[in-house]
């Protein structure tokens, strides 16, 4: 038996079922990335092309390590959420679900691999 009225269940949720949560979450991560990315581009761009010892020394420092960790986690989650919007625009039904699950799991895999590499370098 449904205790909530139809109106109560619909208010604030919209067609997506979760209201503006997805949009708001993307908005927060976009602000975070806008702050992080310029510094990250500088550090990563500088390190790219250097020899291994220099790269290891660069990312062993606290600031580049923390920054890279943040960019990895927030960036890949931002990607997965943004890609989900694209998938929802172009795919339907089972394909849509499979692609969303795939992109979500892929983002976790990239995050885990990147953090593992960072941990090995820092520790």
């Amino acid at each position: 038996m449904q205790y909530l009225t139809d109106r109560k269940r619909a208010v604030g949720k919209g067609a997506g079922g979760s209201g503006t949560e997805h949009h708001w979450s993307l908005k927060i991560s976009s602000i975070a990335l806008a702050i992080l990315i310029p510094a990250f581009l500088y550090i990563f761009g500088r390190a790219l092309g250097q020899d291994r010892a220099t790269v290891l020394a660069t990312f062993a420092h606290p600031f580049p390590a923390i920054l890279t960790g943040l960019v990895l986690v927030i960036g890949m989650r931002h990607f997965a959420q943004g890609a989900q919007i694209m998938i929802e625009d172009y795919a339907r039904g089972g394909t849509r679900k499979a692609l969303i699950i795939g992109v979500t799991l892929f983002s976790y895999a990239v995050i885990a691999t990147g953090l593992f590499a960072l941990a090995r370098i820092v520790l």
């Binding site: 908005k27 976009s30 602000i31 806008a34 500088y42 790219l48 990607f79 943004g82 590499a117 090995r120």
Partner: protein
Amino acid sequence: MADVKRVERPLSPHLSVYRPQITSVSSIFTRITGNGQVVGFVLGVWWLLAASVSDDAFATASAVLTSWFGDLVFTGLAWAVWYHFFAGLRHVYYDSGRGLDVPTAQKLGWACFIGATVMTVLTVLVV
């Protein structure tokens, strides 16, 4: 839902009949540049993982990422990052309810392309 009646409805004119406008082009570029950046993440993580593992692994990853093709990809990615950066900020600005009139929206669209190109040149010069 067993017996859905199919109705022949007129289709609205679609993409092909519209002349590309800066507002629509800047919108689709936001999506392309945003999703395309995943290539950079994968290559970057591979490179970082290789650095953490061994000299041989790093030599391979570094050779691929700094080859002429790697340079091309990362220069393209730098443009994508900066384009998405400006386009994202534009969306934050739009969300405040401002900048939505046609002349302003068109100017902001051009600002994304110009800003991204200028910042990419700067990035390539600095790093």
